[in-house]
C-alpha cells in the first residue's frame, strides 16, 4: 500500500521538460538528478515535491527522447508512483528498468485534484481518493520477472547467473 500527495500534469509531458537537455550530457550521480526533476514543466513540483508524492498525468507521459534520466530523476526525487492514462514506449521501459512504479489508469484525470492525498493498493490494483475508487491495469505478465527482480540491473545479473548455471 502506498499513500501520497498528488501533483497533476496534462497530456504528452515530454522527457525534455522532465529532465532538460542542458543537464542530460553532464555526468552526474543518480542522487543529483532528483534536483532537476520536471524543472521545465511549469509547475511548483520542482521546488516543492517531497519524497512519497504521487504524479497523476494524462496520456503519453514521457514522450520524446530516450533519456533514462527522465525516469531516474523521478525515482531519485522520491516519487512513489506515476499514474497516467498512458506512457510513451521508451519511458515505459526505462521506468520498469529503473524500478519506478508506473500505473496505467484510463480515468487518471478524475482520481484527485492537485494537493489531495490518495492511496494505491498495488496488490488489488485499486487507487482510492476522496472521489472514489479507480482501477489500474496490472503489469503485463511478460514484465513480471523484471518487476519482481526490482528492475533491470538485478534482473540481468539474475539472467547471467542462470546462464552460467546452464554451462
Amino acid at each position: 500500500m502506498i499513500a501520497g500527495r498528488v501533483w497533476k500534469f496534462g497530456d504528452d509531458v515530454n522527457t525534455d521538460v522532465i529532465f532538460p537537455g542542458r543537464y542530460t550530457y553532464e555526468p552526474m550521480s543518480d542522487e543529483a538528478m532528483g534536483k532537476y526533476a520536471l524543472e521545465d514543466a511549469d509547475s511548483a513540483f520542482n521546488q516543492e515535491a517531497k519524497p512519497g508524492d504521487i504524479i497523476i498525468a494524462g496520456k503519453n507521459w514521457g514522450c520524446g527522447s530516450s533519456r533514462e534520466q527522465a525516469a531516474k530523476c523521478l525515482k531519485e526525487r522520491g516519487v512513489a508512483a506515476v499514474i497516467a492514462k498512458g506512457f510513451a514506449r521508451i519511458f515505459y521501459r526505462n521506468a520498469l528498468n529503473e524500478g519506478l512504479l508506473i500505473l496505467v489508469c484510463s480515468e487518471a484525470d478524475q482520481i484527485a485534484q492537485e494537493g489531495e492525498s490518495i492511496s494505491v493498493d498495488t496488490e488489488r490494483c485499486i487507487i482510492r481518493s476522496v472521489h472514489g475508487e479507480y482501477r489500474f491495469q496490472p503489469y503485463p505478465a511478460y514484465v513480471q520477472g523484471l518487476v519482481e527482480a526490482g528492475g533491470l540491473i538485478p534482473y540481468t545479473i539474475q539472467r547471467l547467473r542462470e546462464r552460467e548455471g546452464e554451462k
Binding site: 497530456d11 504528452d12 515530454n14 525534455d16 521538460v17 532538460p20 537537455g21 542542458r22 542530460t24 550530457y25 553532464e26 555526468p27 521545465d40 511549469d42 496520456k59 503519453n60 514522450c63 520524446g64 527522447s65 530516450s66 533519456r67 533514462e68 525516469a71 498512458g86 510513451a88 514506449r89 521508451i90 521501459r93 526505462n94 528498468n97 529503473e98 511478460y142 533491470l152 540491473i153 534482473y155 540481468t156 545479473i157 539472467r159 547471467l160 546462464r163
Partner: protein
C-alpha cells in the same frame, strides 16, 4: 494470413513465426550509442562480466557534445574511447573527418541494412528504417544489459500503414509531409506501433527524404518506421554494408494493419510544428511574416547534402537577414558540400557553417536562443527548452521554408520562391 515487416524481421530473429502482441527475445545486428555510451559503460560494469557480447556489433559515435564544451563532456567521451580500446570495438566514430550524427552514420556507413535489427540509445534511432532496417530506440541501462547478455525482449508491434501517392508540388518536401502526418496522428498516435510507408510516391522518395520521414516517426510515438528498400538504397547498402548476411524483408500484400492512412502529396503544403509540441501543426501561410531571430538548418532530420543544396539554391547570391546556422549531418556531407561549392554559397550569403553534431538541436551548444527569441529550425523537436532556453520559441519547418525565412528575417512561404525559380 500475411505478415507485416515487423512480424517478418522479429520472426526471423526469433527463429519462429510471430504475430503482433507476442514477446520475442532477439539478438540485435547492431547496437549504437553516442556520448551516453559512458553511462552504458558505467552500468555494464555492474554486471560483472569482463567483455561485451560481440564487439563487432557495437557502434559508438560521438555526436552530442563534440567538440567537448565542458570538462564533463570530455570525460564522458574519454570513458567511451577508453572502453572501445579495452573491448576491441572498432566501429567507433570520434571527432574526426569520418564522424557525424549517429543516425546519419548508421545509414551512411552501412550499419542500417535491410532486414536487420538495430538498437540505439537515442529515440531517433528509428531513422535507420529509411534503409529498410528494424530500428528501435531504448534506454541506456537497457543497452548495458544487451551488451552483457546479447539479447533484448521486444513486443511484436501492431503496424500502421501510411500510403503515399502522387508528387510534391514545387517548394514542398518530405519534411512538410511528416509535419502534417505527426499533426494528424498526434504525439501518441503511433505509440508502441510500427509504421510502414507504402505507395507509388513512397517508392520514389530518395534515401535522404526517407530518412527525414523515418527520423520523425518517434514524434508520433512509433517504435520504428520503415520503407521498402529502393534500388538506390540497395546500391548504397551493397557498397557500404558492414556485415554480409542481410536480406530484404518486406510486408506481405495481405498483411494485417491496425490503422491505414492515405496521403496525396499534391495536398501537402509548407508546414510548421508550432511551439511547444511537434504535433502542433500549422501551415506556413497561417504564420507568414512572423518575425524570426534565428534560423537553423541541419540535424539528423535535415542536415543532408540534398537539404543543404536546396538551402544554397535559395540563398545563392543573396544575403540572410538573421543569424543562420548550418550543421551538416556528417563530415562526409560537409566535405561533399564543400567540394560542390554549396558551403561557399551559404557562407557568402552570411550563414555560419558549424561542425557536424547535435549541438543546437539538443540545446547543448552552438545556437542557444535568448529569452523570447524565435527560431525556425529544420530539426525534429520544438519542446520547451529544447534549444537550451525554456523562454524561447521553436518552429519546425523544411529546409526550403527555413532558407526563405532566413532571407527575409520573417517566416516565408517557399512555394512563391519555387515558382520563380521553376523548381
Amino acid at each position: 494470413m500475411g505478415k507485416t515487416f515487423a512480424e517478418k524481421v522479429l520472426g526471423r530473429a526469433a527463429g519462429h513465426e510471430v504475430s503482433a502482441g507476442e514477446i520475442v527475445i532477439v539478438r540485435p545486428d547492431f547496437c549504437v550509442s553516442h556520448e551516453n555510451g559512458a553511462a552504458v559503460v558505467k552500468t555494464f560494469r555492474k554486471f560483472g562480466v569482463p567483455s561485451v557480447f560481440d564487439p563487432s556489433r557495437i557502434v559508438l559515435v560521438m555526436d552530442h557534445t563534440v567538440p567537448a564544451a565542458t570538462a564533463g563532456n570530455a570525460n564522458s567521451q574519454k570513458t567511451v574511447r577508453d572502453f572501445t580500446h579495452e573491448q576491441g570495438i572498432t566501429h567507433y566514430y570520434d571527432l574526426n573527418s569520418c564522424g557525424g550524427v549517429c543516425h546519419q552514420i548508421m545509414v551512411q556507413e552501412g550499419y542500417a541494412l535491410p532486414g536487420c535489427i538495430v538498437l540505439g540509445t537515442d529515440s531517433h534511432t528509428c531513422t535507420s528504417g529509411a534503409a529498410g532496417a528494424f530500428a528501435v530506440g531504448i534506454g541506456r541501462s537497457e543497452m548495458a544489459s544487451v551488451w552483457a547478455v546479447g539479447d533484448i525482449w521486444l513486443r511484436v508491434p501492431e503496424t500502421i500503414k501510411i500510403v503515399l501517392k502522387g508528387s510534391f508540388r514545387p517548394g514542398v518536401s518530405a519534411k512538410d509531409l511528416i509535419l502534417r502526418i505527426v499533426g494528424d496522428l498526434r504525439a501518441d498516435g503511433a505509440d508502441y506501433k510500427s509504421v510502414e510507408f507504402h505507395g507509388d510516391a513512397a517508392d520514389r522518395l530518395c534515401l535522404a527524404e526517407r530518412m527525414t520521414l523515418c527520423n520523425m516517426g518517434i514524434e508520433m510515438g512509433a517504435k520504428n518506421a520503415v520503407f521498402k528498400p529502393s534500388e538506390e538504397v540497395l546500391v548504397h547498402a551493397r557498397a557500404r554494408a558492414k556485415k554480409e548476411d542481410w536480406e530484404v524483408l518486406w510486408a506481405d500484400e495481405d498483411a494485417v494493419y491496425c490503422r491505414e492512412f492515405v496521403y496525396q502529396l499534391e495536398d501537402i503544403v509548407p508546414g510548421l510544428a508550432c511551439p511547444h509540441t511537434v504535433d502542433n501543426y500549422a501551415t506556413v501561410r497561417e504564420h507568414i511574416g512572423m518575425p524570426v531571430d534565428q534560423v537553423f538548418i541541419g540535424a539528423c532530420t535535415n542536415g543532408r547534402l540534398e537539404d543543404l543544396r536546396l538551402a544554397a539554391q535559395v540563398l545563392r547570391g543573396r544575403h540572410v537577414a538573421v543569424r543562420t546556422i548550418i550543421v551538416p549531418a556528417s563530415c562526409e556531407i560537409y566535405r561533399k558540400a564543400l567540394d560542390d561549392g554549396i558551403l561557399a554559397e551559404l557562407m557568402d550569403a552570411g550563414c555560419v557553417i558549424s561542425h557536424p553534431g547535435c549541438g543546437p538541436c539538443a540545446g547543448v551548444m552552438g545556437g542557444i536562443l535568448a529569452d523570447g527569441e524565435v527560431c525556425v529550425s529544420t530539426a525534429n523537436r520544438n519542446f520547451k527548452g529544447r534549444m537550451g532556453n525554456r523562454e524561447s520559441f521553436i518552429y519546425l519547418a523544411s529546409p526550403l521554408t527555413a532558407a526563405c525565412t532566413a532571407l527575409n528575417g520573417a517566416l516565408s512561404d517557399p512555394t512563391e520562391w519555387a515558382k520563380e525559380a521553376r523548381i
